[in-house]
Symmetry: C3
Subunit: 206 residues, 3 copies
């Protein structure tokens, strides 16, 4: 169980780093820029969560494994950047599993320090989504999840399920699997059926 | 007195959240994006202040009332977004009272931990202004207060008055009212008479 | 030695503040905007480092000297902004000495709390570079160091040297001079010979 979580964590980190490499190379950044964007995409959400709850030093400072993984992923990603478009489907899988795991981790940490249920869900969502938000800001784009992704809604639903099951005394391991699965299912269905959040804008506004 | 402060605090939160809704809907964000922008506009300044002084968890994690107010305001704001332009005048009042309160709160917290007077004024101004700054950055705009608003100057003046009156032993309650009023008066007069900071640019530069 | 470090620190602060003034006036910001950009450029990197390692309140809150220096530099910089282009060469010197010092300081602080060597180098680089990154984001630009500056690579090299010499027991004072010199030399040579990071993009991609 512990091992599976670690493997998923590593796959998630890789998927997030690659999404950073893709965005940064589109902006024609240099090596250093790409590395920073890959790092920020991977560790940004967890870092913001740690800052908000006052956990210091923030997690990635204490475990350089992830920094090595990100550096390696960036180098491999740059070399094979033209092939990346062909593996986007597999990347999507890693990425989705990654946000599911990050959501669950974020909610768990927030529950541990007895925050309000709504705040716990918010922290889970921040952990999963804000790496991508910071990536987009550093690339001078309006964050993509603010405009057309069902991404965040999947995290909110999964986070809420975790809080509810936790309230009814479900064991953390089973809870993590069920809530994580919900994130994966919603996100996958949303992409397959091209579901977006219902638009609040009338046609004349667009 | 306590009650009045709470009511002003809530009105300020609502006004800030609505300014977030207005900015986010202009950018055609989806529901989730609008909610994030509304939240960031409301709690961003206080969050940055808390991070800088090391207060953790940051305030809004410990009081979900504000999260509920922001969610509710966002929903109501989206439904009535076309009518929002007609109430901008009343919003302006809430907003101005809000920044006055945020300035005073920020300065008070900084004085409590014995920071230098200049730093106290800076923290009051950050509390009042940086929610809007983060809102504009997330919306991919240069922050409006860096370009044409007398906003920040009003906060600096009110913050400075608070520090001076505090130095002369004026009671916090009276001090808050006087300093807050100064913020409100400067901001209101600036808007009525369309005062901006004196331009440092010659005509040939613009 | 202590005095020299203080003088270099002040010169670095001035150089960073001026680079903020130059960027902000290009964007036609008002007085307040220019002041904020100058401040953020000067203290942004150290602030981010302090937040990440959990040092609070962050350094500049505890020493208002730097705030006064920044305010003064901003005023002088605005008055003489047309002349600034003629002194850019001297500014370059201060700026380079500044990033050398900031890199060394960042690495030293990270070593003190026993972080992994790679993380120490990362924190040194963040201290030196992220003031400029935040400046560019607030000005709605893609950070310049992500695209064409050898800036960050010089910091990484100097930071790595510091960690290595520290490992071999070299005294901090001598280590700081040697590692700082490496940053200065790489950056200066890079600018003189117009060296950039090798481009990862083929001509057809640009």
């Amino acid at each position: 169980m512990e091992n599976i979580a670690s493997i998923i964590d590593i796959l998630g980190t890789i998927a997030f780093a690659i999404s950073g490499v893709i965005t940064a190379t589109k902006k024609r950044m240099d090596l250093f820029g790409i590395l920073i964007i890959a790092t920020v995409t991977s560790v940004g959400g967890g870092t913001l969560r740690d800052l908000l709850i006052g956990k210091s030093p923030v997690s990635w400072l204490l475990d350089s494994t992830f920094v090595y993984i990100i550096v390696l992923t960036t180098i491999v990603g740059i070399i094979f950047r033209k092939q990346l478009r062909y593996v986007r489907r597999s990347l999507f899988l890693f990425d989705t599993i990654g946000i599911a795991l990050y959501t669950v981790t974020g909610v768990e940490i927030a529950l541990l320090i007895n925050l309000d249920p709504v705040i716990c869900v918010a922290l889970g969502t921040i952990t999963a989504c804000f790496g991508g938000v910071i990536r987009d800001i550093l690339c001078n784009e309006i964050p993509v999840i603010f405009r057309k992704e069902i991404y965040a809604s999947a995290c909110i639903a999964g986070g809420a399920l975790y809080v509810i099951l936790h309230h009814y005394g479900i064991a953390p391991g089973i809870n993590a699997i069920l809530s994580g699965l919900l994130v994966v299912i919603i996100r996958t269905l949303a992409v397959i059926y091209e579901v977006q959040l219902p638009s609040i804008y009338s046609k004349s506004e667009l």
